[in-house]
């Protein structure tokens, strides 16, 4: 529980459905001196979650996950930038913190299921495997960040909100008379507080902040960049070179620590390789499949052909040129509403 409307209503629905519910909140890591700054567990949100639990008549526990969060998530984040990718630590948090550390804690208290306020659905066809489905409210659908779940976890997971729209959830919050606050749907990383990730990296991983040349494809130097970690493919603003035509980040060359820029025509590719794939069904399809692919949490579906290379890797070939394919983010595959799985863009 986070004190927000979603997890609060999720808990209320479960109580209404007759489940014996225990509220749990993760105490996540923040930088020293900014302990109250983690957006996921501010003192206010914890107090609110406690009030919600009391209103629902369920126990509430805050669980210390600071150490494991730092080891698994924050390190992954910093290592990712060191490797030149744009990591998505929320995926790692879901898999390693929520559906591992927290779930184990919950099970130790006797829990059978882990329920969250995510917008997604789980379905089981008779005699078949569990399916992860997009939420009814397509604007709120969070299946992208849940593609890391496997069959074992899906059998033990509940998403009470998947059938509702955000509007309906808000209405239920007021119907249940829950003291929830409306939080901004910020996509910033929780442990950054109000800061930019650049300042965070400067302080915590100065080794990734190494200036180098800004080059065109032809090798003309246009200026100096402040560290490859600070730029993403497709970025236009804030490159810091003047040019008669708009310039975009088209490539990050780790070997020469060079930031390659060019006009928009230089951007875009029709293909990517995804690795560390989790196939929801537990195994890769035997042959290539047509799928809708999302390359970012908020990006649109792209028609593609997904060709499994082995159980964990696949080639994704898009029907059109894609300009902002970002190594480190996930490519998540869908068959209409059904999430098939996904992997990390190489």
């Amino acid at each position: 529980m986070s004190g927000g409307v979603d997890s609060s209503v999720a808990a209320a629905l479960l109580v209404q459905q007759g489940y014996e519910v225990i509220g749990m909140m993760l105490r996540l890591w923040s930088e020293a001196g900014m302990e109250a700054g983690n957006r996921c567990c501010t003192p206010d949100s914890m107090a609110l979650a406690r009030r919600v639990a009391a209103r629902l008549g369920i126990p509430f526990y805050a669980v210390d996950a600071q150490g494991v969060f730092y080891d698994r998530v924050v390190n992954y984040f910093m290592d990712g930038y060191e490797e030149g990718i744009t990591p998505n630590p929320c995926l790692v948090c879901n898999r390693n913190i929520r559906w591992d550390f927290l779930f184990e804690r919950a099970k130790s208290l006797g829990a059978d299921y882990l329920a969250t306020g995510h917008y997604a659905r789980i379905d089981k066809e008779e005699g078949k495997k569990f399916q992860l489905l997009r939420a009814i409210d397509s604007k709120k659908d969070q299946s992208y960040v849940l593609h890391v779940l496997n069959q074992d976890l899906l059998t033990q997971t509940l998403f009470p909100l998947g059938l509702y729209t955000k509007t309906e959830v808000r209405q239920m919050a007021s119907k249940f008379d829950l003291p929830v606050a409306e939080r901004s749907d910020s996509q910033d990383l929780c442990f950054l507080g109000d800061e930019s990730y650049r300042d965070f990296l400067r302080r915590n991983a100065p080794q990734v902040v190494s200036p180098g040349p800004i080059l065109t494809r032809d090798g003309n130097q246009l200026g100096e960049h402040q560290g490859l970690a600070f730029y993403t493919i497709g970025q236009r603003k804030g490159i810091g070179v003047s040019s008669p035509i708009p310039l975009y980040v088209v490539h990050k060359d780790r070997n020469s620590n060079a930031l390659i820029v060019g006009p928009s025509e230089h951007l875009g590719t029709k293909e990517l390789i995804a690795a560390s794939i989790n196939w929801i069904a537990g195994e890769a399809p035997r042959e290539e499949i047509m799928a809708d692919v999302k390359i970012r949490y908020k990006s649109r579906d792209e028609r593609s052909t997904v060709t499994p290379l082995d159980n964990q890797r696949a080639r994704v070939t898009f029907d059109r040129l894609i300009r902002d394919i970002t190594p480190g983010q996930a490519a998540v595959f869908y068959d209409r509403d059904r999430c098939l799985g996904g992997g990390i863009i190489q």
Binding site: P43, V63, D64, R105, S108, G110
Partner: protein, 391 residues
């Protein structure tokens, strides 16, 4: 709502707080509505309230073996600690330029944080006494550190976390010799130990009613006649000018009544609790591997058992116990999921990783042998489970 009578729940956290004795509640009730007067008023309603107030004060004074005008009613034990330390420190500075606060490293936060604020904002100097592995202060260490400019000495009577009982009487005698005001936080101790202020040689002594089956929100401070002290809150002339605010008559009556029963029934209560407590300690140490008693084995509160367990996250242990229906406590536990190893255990020389695996089990008048058996049945299983998840 969770009730103490709920059969599926067992309360073993009486050092945190106790339920109000029904006899105490009954004594309090008339003063909420029938006899509701302000004790400062001239009329008969006021006189009625004043009578209740002064009767309570006389009763408390008798139990503390002091004069009624040496008893100040406050809102809680923490306020008593604050008034004692702040009031005496500022008075000592003004009357004799004394600047030093001498305390143990195992004081309640109401003492430690008060001393620390005085140091930070008002340039007092804090000196921490050493303690031994049981959290015990050696009177000789106090003697060695008493100076002309010692403003106040404050040593906890019985420790809330590990139950260790200090030799207050000996320390008090040393302070008296040097004419240094001596305060003791007797908030835990008053439930089971003698609070005879003469025998204890104290100048200031704090108590809070809810630790001995009285209501929350009421405390008292003994101030020996002649001890230099300033009020820390200003207002009316109540409480000899040391603590303003309209008297909370029902709660003051409740405190007096609860203390009366605590003293009257002490032997009976200890006789009920001590064998169960000793059985509990013995069984835990015998049947749970890697378990250690914290605090003094003999000089400890009769209702108090405290342990550390190797390889156990104390917070996780508390959650599991709660889900199993047992309410306990831990020095390092924290409701916000940000546990720090207990400062008390660290001061007693406990290694940091052990200090995070602490558990406090405190018994009360409602505790039964059957409850302790149920607890002893579950604790080994739960510690085993926590160890699996901690590793």
């Amino acid at each position: 709502m969770i009730l103490l009578t709920d059969k599926s729940k067992i309360y073993l956290d009486y050092a945190a707080t106790t339920p109000v004795d029904p006899r105490v509640l009954e004594a309090m009730l008339p003063y909420f509505s029938d006899s509701f007067g302000n004790s400062s008023s001239v009329h008969s309603y006021g006189q009625d309230a004043e009578n209740a107030l002064e009767s309570a004060r006389e009763s408390v004074a008798a139990l503390l073996n002091c004069h009624p005008n040496e008893v100040i009613f406050t809102s809680c034990g923490s306020e008593s600690d604050n008034l004692a330390i702040r009031g005496a420190a500022f008075a000592a500075r003004n009357t004799r330029q004394a600047n030093k606060i001498l305390i143990s490293p195992v004081e309640h936060h109401a003492v430690t944080n008060t001393a620390q604020q005085l140091a930070k904002l008002h340039n007092f100097n804090i000196e921490f006494l050493p303690v031994d592995e049981y959290g015990l202060v050696d009177p000789a260490d106090v003697k060695e550190r008493l100076r002309q400019d010692t403003a106040i000495v404050s040593i906890i009577y019985a420790n809330n976390e590990i139950g260790t009982i200090n030799n207050i009487s000996a320390i008090g005698a040393l302070c008296q010799e040097r004419n240094v005001p001596f305060h003791t936080d007797a908030v835990q101790a008053a439930a089971y130990l003698s609070a005879d202020t003469k025998a204890l040689n104290v100048d200031l002594l704090s108590i809070g009613a809810h630790k001995f089956y009285g209501p929350k929100g009421i405390g008292a401070l003994y101030i020996k006649d002649g001890t230099p002290i300033y009020p820390m809150m200003t207002g009316g002339a109540q409480e000899f000018g040391l603590r303003p605010g309209t008297h909370n008559i029902p709660y003051i009556v409740g405190l007096a009544k609860a203390l009366e029963y605590a003293v009257e029934e002490r032997e009976h209560r200890v006789g009920h609790i001590l064998p169960m407590r000793d059985h509990l300690i013995g069984m835990v140490l015998e049947y749970i591997q890697g378990s250690y008693l914290t605090g003094h084995p003999i000089l400890r509160m009769p209702n108090h058992a405290s342990f550390v367990f190797e390889g156990v996250d104390g917070n996780a242990l508390l959650l599991m116990l709660d889900v199993e229906g047992f309410a306990c406590s831990s020095g390092s536990a924290c409701k916000t999921g940000d546990p720090e190893p207990s400062g008390v255990l660290l001061a007693a020389g406990m290694p940091k990783d052990l200090a995070t695996g602490s558990l406090r089990v405190t018994l009360g008048t409602k505790t039964t042998a059957e409850q302790i058996e149920r607890f002893l049945d579950i604790l080994p299983k739960v510690t085993k489970r926590v160890r699996q998840y901690s590793s």
